[in-house]
Amino acid sequence: MTLSAQARTSGASRVLELRIRNDVNEIEGVVDLVRRECEALQYGRRQLMLNVPVALTEALSNAILRGNGEDPTKSVRVHARVDALALVVEVIDEGAGFDLAACLCDPTTPDRLNGEDGRGLFLMQKLMDRVERFDGRTGNTVRLTLRRES
């Protein structure tokens, strides 16, 4: 159950602000909301079916499982701004943050291909135009940016 949700129009942008329980079962609902906003602005089919759902799922999953350490007392905030130029989503957890560059690895090398983990950040980078991590005002923030293709 989403703890709080707000959607508003700001100029030519749609802005979503959500706070969800620290539970992986919350992920699909968030993805659907963001995807619908992108669909309303006629983002490309592949962006709606692949780039947005997979990259956002990865970011949320990392926030819930790693950033918040699966702690059910914590929450994850999502701030998404969608307009005709780009989608910018920030996923904010209550964790200590991490070194994005240090955590990036190539899971396609022969020694890693058979691994069961290590593809999340890789997919985020491949499917989004930009992935950033920083310590925001209110927590560890991962920002995903995707330029709209029609």
């Binding site: 992986v24 079962n25 992920i27 699909e28 592949r46 079916m49 692949l50 759902p53 997979v54 799922t57 990865e58 999953s61 499982l65 899971p107 396609t108 291909l113 058979n114 691994g115 069961e116 983990d117 290590g118 593809r119 999340g120 890789f122 997919l123 491949k126 499917l127």
Partner: protein, 110 residues
Amino acid sequence: MSFSIKKQDGVVVVEVDGQLIVGNRQELKQKMLEELEKGGRKFLIDFAKTGYIDSSGLGVLVSLSKKIREAGGELRLANLNDDLKTLFELTKLDTLFQIAETRERALQSF
């Protein structure tokens, strides 16, 4: 996600309906391992009704592939749409799995 398991031509056919992601991939793994325990050795996962897969879902497929192979079995994947194919190509998992265009071709390949 929901999935169905049935036997067809001696093959355990699993259909994944919906997303295969962090919240539900353990259920798929558990059910398939149960079939392996019961003696199933030929497995086909049909993605015709699958939306998207995240890295956890891909990880479960890799894990299942290993376990099935260790038990002397075989795993095929079928009916990946273009977006799922892209996912497998990006991660080079298309080189790890035997992927067929259709269920029929996958069944014939055993």
